[in-house]
């Protein structure tokens, strides 16, 4: 990506004045798996960056002085957005799956509709932790496999499901994060899944 444009003042595209409902979907995955690429390919704005800091008193212990110190956890994430209609806007967050991120889940991502776990089959280990934490937070998710051109393994979705010990209720989908239609399909797969879950929940008294 050329960085020349980042020097320009940002030209913000404001939301419609009638916008009233913001929704969240989180894309989780290891470094380099294609989160930002996916956000960029479906977002109506260039992905923006922000971060959260959390100061935990007494977490780190300064061993040389033997005193408890304050430690600051910083988590950076990027996001894009899709105006679904005049009133409703969907925000997509690309978030790292590493440990310190999950400390901030409740403060940042409670109320998230659901999550996409983005997987690179060459580094499947990165996905374990994210899946475990999403299950812990009871956030519904789908698994999207971002197929890189130089990935020679070509595991099938079924092989990946087994490798990740995923229940058959978790939808899986292949994608190319660089392609807008493919990114849209990932989101539709997730929301379809959520819709089915909501219908099932509404049907139980």
């Amino acid at each position: 990506m050329g960085s020349a444009t980042s020097e320009l003042p940002s030209h913000r595209t404001p939301l419609a004045d009638a916008a009233e409902t913001g929704l969240k979907i989180v894309i989780v995955g290891g470094f380099g798996v294609g989160k930002t690429t996916l956000v960029r390919s479906v977002s109506e704005i260039r992905p923006l960056n922000t971060e959260e800091v959390m100061t935990q008193a007494g977490v780190g212990v300064d061993e040389t002085r033997g005193v408890a110190t304050k430690s600051t956890t910083t988590v950076a994430f990027d996001f894009g957005r899709i105006s679904l209609n005049e009133r409703t806007v969907l925000y997509l967050f690309g978030a790292p799956g590493q440990e310190r991120f999950w400390f901030l889940w409740d403060s940042l991502f409670s109320g998230t509709l659901g999550a996409v776990v983005l997987v690179d089959t060459r580094r499947m280990d990165d996905s374990w932790y994210a899946i475990d934490r999403l299950e812990h937070h009871r956030t519904p998710f789908v698994v999207a496999v971002n197929r890189f051109d130089d990935d020679t393994t070509r595991y099938s979705l079924e092989q990946i499901r087994q490798a990740l010990a995923l229940s058959e209720h978790v939808p899986m989908v292949d994608c190319d994060a660089r392609v807008r239609q493919s990114g849209k399909d990932v989101l539709i797969t997730l929301v379809d899944h959520l819709y089915e879950l909501a219908l099932a929940q509404e049907a139980t008294p």
Partner: protein, 118 residues
């Protein structure tokens, strides 16, 4: 993974912007949409003025944080100041906030419809 040595987490800057406060009003969700109810005025803290300027149109909390290059917590504190004095209004998300409860199927249908029509 590289970490910037001085993130916006620079404690001195955060302290100055928030007047030393560290507890934020977490009723501001990342996607709560903020709307200004007045113009920025001379003499206002610059961050407050920038927020009022940005939020002439509805703007999500997370977008304000990105524009101001400040952590979410700090932005929540600043928004709390503006809300308390009636200078902004907040349009909170209607999706369920509690853990493990799904939004209603009608909302999800609306989302599906929006995505399919992109």
């Amino acid at each position: 993974m590289t970490r910037k040595p001085v993130d916006t987490g620079d404690p001195d800057r955060l302290y100055t912007v928030t007047g030393g406060r560290s507890r934020a009003d977490d009723s501001f969700d990342l996607v709560t949409l903020i709307v200004s109810e007045c113009e920025p005025k001379a003499g206002m803290q610059s961050e407050h003025a920038r927020i009022l300027d940005l939020c002439r149109h509805p703007t999500a909390v997370v977008e304000i944080a990105a524009e101001l290059k400040l952590p979410i917590t700090v932005v929540r504190i600043l928004l709390g100041d503006l809300l308390d004095t009636g200078r902004i209004t907040a349009r909170h998300p209607r999706a369920a906030r509690s853990v493990a409860s799904l939004p209603d199927s009608a909302l999800l249908k609306e989302v599906l419809h929006g995505l399919r029509n992109l």
